[in-house]
Amino acid sequence: MRASVTYRILGLALGLAGLVLLPACEGTQNQSGTANGKKLVEVSVFQGGYDIDFWEACARQYEETHPEVKVNLWGDPRNAEKLRPRFIAGNPPDLVYASLPIWILIAADQCLPLDEELAKPAVGQPGKTWKESLIPSAYTDFSQDGHTYALTVPYAVFGFWYDHRLFRAHGWQPPETWDDLLALCEQIKQAGIDPIAFQGRYPGYIQSLFETLVERTGGIEAWLATQNIEPGVWKSEPVVRAWEMVQELRRREYIPKAYMGLSHMESQMEWVQGKAAMIPCGTWLTTEMKSSLPKEFEVGFMPYPGVSGGKGDPTAINAGGEYWFVPTKARHPDIGADILRQVMSLDNARRFVQDKKALFAVRNCDDNPPAALKEAVAAAHSARFMFSSHVSQWYPTFGSAYNEVCGSVMSLDMTPQEAGDYLERAAAAQRRDRRTRRHEMPNPDPFAAAYAAVEALKDDPVVIVGW
């Protein structure tokens, strides 16, 4: 009798332990497979500023044209964390949009090359391949060894944002050059308004301006060298000069010290409320602030200014994309890729631009942009090329040092020369680190070779005479 009671108690205890353990297994459930004769396809999307309604509509659209498929799309702001154990366990979804470390996944053979899929016809654009329907950075940003492993879908370009009404009221004009910008900031300061708001508690927000200034000063080759962490480049003249320029904004209080203690939302609110005239940010800004932007606010965008005497292209624009990919171990990788092809149809892309007021990596989808996006689209279209930074993603340890320097330079705790020396040491350590794969950034300027040839001709009087 006693033994029976003992075993019952033991059974109960183990049962309770089982109940505790059961939910732990929930996170590794795979929602793809087959059910009721239909193929179940799982799509995981990041639920951020764009929400998931657009992606859900795309999933339903795919089900209509493919009745044999049931798309199980789920969104979560922290889907990356939920997916991590599933990549280790080898049962990832069929299509993923998450801020996962894409380069680590590519190195770990977790991303399917999309080259064959990209050669398929674009949805709704007869005569065009999927690849031809996309802007180049959509398929070059996440390519390695000649293969495309992820596609940029929504993307952003960076620049200064302002309110047309405020500029009109004071007779201010968007600056063309860095000197113009400094002169404008002085006028704004004299008017009692903070010239530039800054997301100081995330000092990495200055990187888009800093990298643009590197390009403007030293040309795209100088910027490329920073991405490829070439020896000596992080303390080279264009880099140190770019740090001097961004720090100048702080030294002259064009970005007041108070902004170093503000989060991105707090500083963006200062801009929305007209307490600051400009703010450096990507094109997601208006979506992020849509609930706070007054109806009468006339959103304006200006690309970062050129640098007089600089070697760079003043039209080049810094951009960054959010990527989608098909996991190698997906159950239905072909359907996952096919859904992505459908998501990136021209019609869907146009709808995204209108609904989300953000950029989409499909050609011609922003022919008729919403007012808040008009100038950003014009800047993107008139740019000779876009350049997207990968150095922090490729080399996370260097990325931490880079972020640190952004904060120190903007807090005036580090001189530009010290910043250069610090980052050069970090880059040297990264080069020595056998644990991290070295990457090679291709030149984003499609005409770079042609321009270089012309420059070489100019330097060769014999050839010119021969002409």
Partner: protein, 294 residues
């Protein structure tokens, strides 16, 4: 004899479920963590590359890690000592049944029951560089030139002192108060009759009698300080500058943000050893006999 054995078996069976859970959720992950710390692993592949003690060698050369230990020690020393001093002062005051003592007791203890995240968010408002009350008070008392963006990376660690003290005082106050109330009133009365000053009464009666609380408090402070994470994390929105890391935040950054599971886990093993050793030393030092223990 058989009965005794059956009872032992029954006892073991009762312990078994807890033992199974403990082994599964504590012992096994700890062993697994040590195994991961000997490998090069991003956390996204089933395979790990064995690298022996390489990660531990890198930890010893890691300047951010040593800076993090310094921050941990600062967070133990400065807010820790101030918290205990204030708690003892308030406890001594409240022990004398001043008017409204109960209200004060609740008021002091209240911050301690709040979540650290809530307290940190609240203090983010207090420290707001444009309209925060902290800068407002500085301006009001004529110290306007001291106003700054307190949560910027150059002042983030000192900015943690005030909320830590505000939150911690209540807890230690209760401990001290309980200890003071245990002191026989006759001792105070006799000291007063002998003409002892307030300071001498505190020095020779209160302080020795509350000494055991100091031992417990020291252990709590050292353990809490070495594990410091929350305030830094919330104040920096999860992106602390390298100079502002503590061991715990640096371990999290390497593991989760930089995807270096092997190195991050090596940091966690080192952190475990340091916390373990520090708690033993603290307890030993605090337990040393004092003259009044005789």
């Amino acid at each position: 004899m058989l009965r005794a054995r059956q009872q032992r078996l029954l006892g073991f069976l009762f312990l078994l479920p807890a033992l199974v859970l403990y082994t599964l959720f504590v012992v096994y992950p700890a062993i697994q963590a040590f195994s991961i710390s000997l490998s090069l692993w991003s956390g996204y592949t089933p395979e790990k590359e064995f690298v022996g003690l390489e990660n531990y060698r890198l930890v010893l050369q890691d300047s951010v890690f040593w800076g993090a230990i310094k921050n941990n020690l600062v967070l133990i020393a400065i807010p820790g000592v101030l918290t205990l001093a204030l708690a003892l002062y308030f406890a001594s005051t409240l022990a004398h049944n001043i008017k409204g003592a109960q209200i004060f007791r609740v008021a002091y203890f209240f911050p301690n029951v709040m979540s650290v995240v809530v307290v940190a968010i609240m203090w983010s408002f207090i420290y707001h560089p444009k309209w925060g009350i902290f800068n407002g008070i500085l301006r009001l008392v004529g110290l306007g030139h001291f106003t700054r963006a307190w949560l910027a990376q150059d002042t983030l660690i000192p900015a943690i002192f005030a909320p830590s003290i505000w939150m911690g005082v209540g807890f230690y106050l209760v401990l001290y108060l309980a200890a003071i109330q245990q002191i026989p009133q006759e001792l105070f009365d006799a000291a007063k009759v002998d003409g002892a000053s307030g300071w001498r009464i505190f020095r020779h009666i209160t302080w020795p009698m509350v000494w055991p609380v100091n031992r417990i408090a020291a252990v709590f402070l050292v353990l809490g300080g070495l594990k410091a994470f929350d305030f830094i994390w919330v104040f920096s929105y999860g992106y602390p500058a390298l100079r502002n890391h503590t061991m715990a935040t640096w371990m999290y950054q390497k593991t989760i943000t930089e995807y270096d599971m092997g190195y991050g886990t090596a940091l966690s093993v080192v952190m475990f050893v340091l916390v373990f050793v520090a708690s033993i030393i603290t307890f030993r030092v605090a337990s040393q006999k004092r003259e009044w223990d005789q």
